[in-house]
């Protein structure tokens, strides 16, 4: 079992969700987050003072998958979030030790799907 965390541009969320849907990956948790990468954000003007870039809005999705679904999950996220511009985001993959379905108390791979 793997735990996939992807952080990317908020305007790409609908594209990523559509791609995941196509691969029949339905279970996703989405959060609004703030962050910045090497691009350091966009300068804003408040009351006519130009201010250096600060943290930017990003979106974070988290998906638990069985190993055989890992590659298509990653492919779907990349396809949806890729623009080729700086700041497209990152995907992190972690090993997942355990998963419990609260309704039935099932555990392991069967509990993920």
């Amino acid at each position: 079992m793997k735990y996939v965390i992807a952080i990317f541009q908020p305007d790409r969320l609908n594209d990523v969700m559509a791609r995941l849907e196509q691969k029949e990956i339905h279970l996703v948790t989405v959060t609004n987050v703030m962050g910045r990468g090497r691009q350091k954000g966009v300068a804003a003007v408040y009351r006519s003072h130009k201010e250096a870039g600060s943290l930017l809005r990003k979106v974070k999705i988290e998906i638990a998958v069985n190993d055989e679904y890992l590659q298509q999950t990653i492919d779907a996220i990349v396809a949806g979030a890729h623009s080729g511009e700086i700041g497209d985001g990152k995907i992190f993959v972690l090993s997942l030790e355990e998963c419990v379905r609260i309704r039935t108390s099932e555990t392991g791979s069967v509990a993920i799907g």
Binding site: A44, V45, Y46, R47, S48, H49, K50, E51, A52, S54
Partner: protein
């Protein structure tokens, strides 16, 4: 100052002067009785001016960080309540009773509203109680304007004490000099200084005191890099819209009658504000390649401030110049002057109210025209350069009084209570540390 306001002292004290004024404004003469139309308009205007303080609360509240929004709203509501009670007990009398201390303030004749009746006030056609409550709304918003200068770092207890004393020791004397019929050395209104609705009394007074407060308090932690962005610009826009709306009561209501002068003040107020909003937006567009919303609403408020002393005396075309000029000078103050001098006037009370207020007072001496309804005074551009000097004197008196008395008050309060919250409290935010509340929740 409107002629109606000039005749405010009780008839016994004014003698011959009032007879002249009555002859000059026939509308006011009607048997010396109450006029229903005038009374209705000033009643509505009083409610409009009241609305400006909650509007200001949202204008300022939207511009601070989310951890301090309630403290701003609370400070504005403090003014709504505390200033009302002080006004009824002492303030109205100090501003509008016959001279005491050689004209420095009004005396105690109207303490606790003794002698303030439902009979026509002075040479007006509205009841004395209505004049009192209309003026009371001005006494509420003027100290509230200063909230923006010491936002995000001043102790609430110190604010209560400062605001209350400021009303009685700064606002009331200046209101007395300009509108209260002060004689002698302080008689700015008697000198012929024009301040239709409060450019000196309200805006210069609050703006200069705000600058003094921000200098004495010192900068916020992290200023200027991490005190931005505003946490809710739509609140600030809502507040500005309601301020614009309420300002019609402030300015057109200051005619104290439903007459041509009120209409002129209404039109010039509206036109100047529009011009000022356009100019600030244009400046941003040129300098930063984008017109910003915060720039446009800041311009609008600068225009409202600047037209306040002028609205009853200038033409609509003059108002465009007053409003457009207001954005130019306030823009300079906010964008150039403040960073250069390094003071942290959090929400630009001095830049917007002080500087645009000074501009408005001077501009009144430039564009005033006797062609305006019920107006007899011309400014520089209509052949009377002396008016500019009279305006400058009123500006200078107000600046000196506001700066000196505010400085002393704040120094004394600093010794007694301390002005500033602790470093930890400032970091956590005033909502939680001063008021034990938070504005927004993250979970249900």
């Amino acid at each position: 100052m409107s002629e109606l306001r000039r005749g405010l002292r009780p008839a016994l004290r004014l003698g011959a002067a009032i007879a002249v004024l009555l002859a000059a404004s026939p509308a006011a003469a009607q048997d010396g009785g109450i006029d229903k139309g005038d009374t209705a308009w000033v009643l509505v205007s009083s409610a409009l001016v009241l609305l400006m303080t909650p509007a200001l609360a949202f204008f300022y509240g939207g511009l601070v960080r989310r951890k301090n929004v309630l403290s701003i709203l609370m400070q504005c509501f403090l003014c709504l309540s505390l200033m009302t009670i002080l006004w009824v007990m002492f303030g109205f009398s100090l501003a509008f009773a016959p001279d005491a201390l050689g004209g420095l303030v009004g005396g105690g004749d109207y303490f606790f509203l003794r002698g303030v009746t439902f009979e026509p006030w002075g040479s007006t056609t509205i009841p004395g109680q209505l004049f009192m409550v209309f003026q009371g709304m001005f006494a509420i918003i003027t100290p509230a304007l200063m909230v923006g200068a010491f936002a995000e770092r001043m102790k609430f207890s110190a604010i209560c004490l400062f605001m209350g004393l400021w009303l009685l020791l700064v606002y009331c004397p200046v209101a007395h000099w300009v509108w209260g019929g002060a004689g002698g050395f302080f008689g700015l209104g008697g000198d012929g200084a024009l301040d239709f609705a409060g450019g000196t009394v309200v805006h210069i007074n609050a703006g200069v005191s705000a600058l003094v407060a921000s200098l004495l308090l010192g900068r916020r932690q992290g200023y200027p890099t991490s005190t931005s962005p505003p946490h809710n610009l739509p609140f600030a826009v809502l507040g500005t819209g309601l301020l614009w709306f309420g300002w019609f009561g402030f300015n057109a209501g200051s005619a104290l009658a439903a007459n041509e002068q009120a209409v002129n003040a209404f039109v010039t107020t509206h036109v100047a504000t529009a011009a000022a909003a356009l100019v600030w937006g244009g400046l941003d567009w040129m300098r930063h390649k984008r017109p910003t919303l915060l720039g446009v609403i800041t311009g609008a408020v600068s225009g409202l401030v600047a037209i306040t002393p002028a609205c009853g005396f200038v033409s609509p075309l003059g108002a465009i110049c007053v409003g457009g000029g207001a954005s130019l000078v306030a823009y300079f103050a906010v964008v150039k002057l403040k960073p250069r001098l390094g003071y942290d006037d959090s929400l630009d009370v001095f830049g917007v109210h002080g500087v645009a207020g000074i501009w408005g007072a001077i501009a009144t001496g430039l564009w005033a025209t006797s062609a305006s309804p019920n107006s007899t005074v011309d400014g520089l551009f209509y052949g009377n350069p002396a008016q500019v000097l009279i305006q400058l004197k009123a500006v200078a008196f107000t600046i000196v009084w506001a700066a000196v008395v505010s400085f002393v008050l704040l120094k004394v309060i600093d010794l007694v209570l301390g002005l500033r919250v602790g470093e930890h409290e400032e970091r956590i935010g005033l909502d939680l540390t001063e008021h034990r509340e938070v504005a927004y929740t993250l979970v249900d």
